[in-house]
């Protein structure tokens, strides 16, 4: 069974992102201006992918923290909660590999190393895709492509889909990594 966070990513977030796909299709025809309109949709689509993925990571972190908190019998389990959730990077920063690694590293695991224990080459490419996603997100959000050495016209629908697909695979892998890791700490699969 997946975590609630993964279920939300695969249902609510997916539905929101699919609306951008529909919007892209709706801007049809060959009239002048179509290319500009679809470009803006591609930019919006990419930012939404990144923000929904950030939401997923935060949700998964919260869910994992709650699981540890419930199953920790110590009278000082509040301390556990504080140390896990206090000023998380994912609450204020992009879902970059470094922010994800730092926040999930609080569960006492070398997060990305564990993620890449399975299909190392593939997951390495997905991690790189996440870096690319965040680079585009920053460029679009700040409308500053030059300092990121990006060409705004190069963001095609195909490219956004590939980045979304990488996030989707990472979400499933994060869910599995956390479930396995928490099981070693609480003695049961948490979800």
């Amino acid at each position: 069974m997946p975590s609630q966070s993964l279920t939300l990513w695969q249902t609510q977030a997916a539905a929101s992102l699919d609306q951008l796909e529909s919007a892209h299709r709706a801007v049809g025809g060959n009239l002048p201006g179509r290319r500009y309109a679809t470009l803006q949709i591609n930019h919006a689509y990419l930012v939404l992918v990144s923000s929904h993925f950030q939401r997923f990571c935060r949700d998964l972190h919260t869910e994992a923290t709650e699981q540890l908190w419930i199953h920790n019998p110590s009278p000082r389990h509040d301390m556990l909660k504080i140390n896990l959730s206090l000023n998380r990077q994912l609450d204020t920063r992009n879902p970059s590999p470094s922010a994800i690694g730092a926040d999930f590293g609080r569960f006492n695991l070398a997060f990305w190393d564990v993620v890449k224990q399975r299909s190392p080459a593939l997951n390495q490419r997905r991690q790189a895709a996440l870096e690319t996603l965040n680079k585009w997100r920053n460029a679009i959000a700040h409308q500053d492509f030059a300092s990121h050495q990006l060409n705004p016209y190069a963001l095609t629908l195909h490219r956004v889909r590939r980045l979304r697909s990488a996030c989707d695979a990472l979400a499933r892998r994060f869910d599995a990594v956390l479930a396995t890791h928490l099981a070693t700490m609480i003695g049961m699969i948490p979800w």
Binding site: T62, E66, K81, L86, N87, R88, D91
Partner: protein
Amino acid sequence: MATRSRKKISIGDLFRVQLGPTSWRARIVEDRGNLGRHGMRMYRVELLDDVADPPLFVEVGKDELKPLRN
């Protein structure tokens, strides 16, 4: 307990949160949804502390929010 009242919890509401030995005044900054144990509503709160820099944010369950005593 705050949750006994039917009043809806809103962004900006103030509560007291007990974390370890310390009782904090806390302001709701985000409704995080039903991510807690057994689907409990979770909230991101700012712990109000005059000296904390940067500000302190944690997540707590609905049942951890206690009313402020005046």
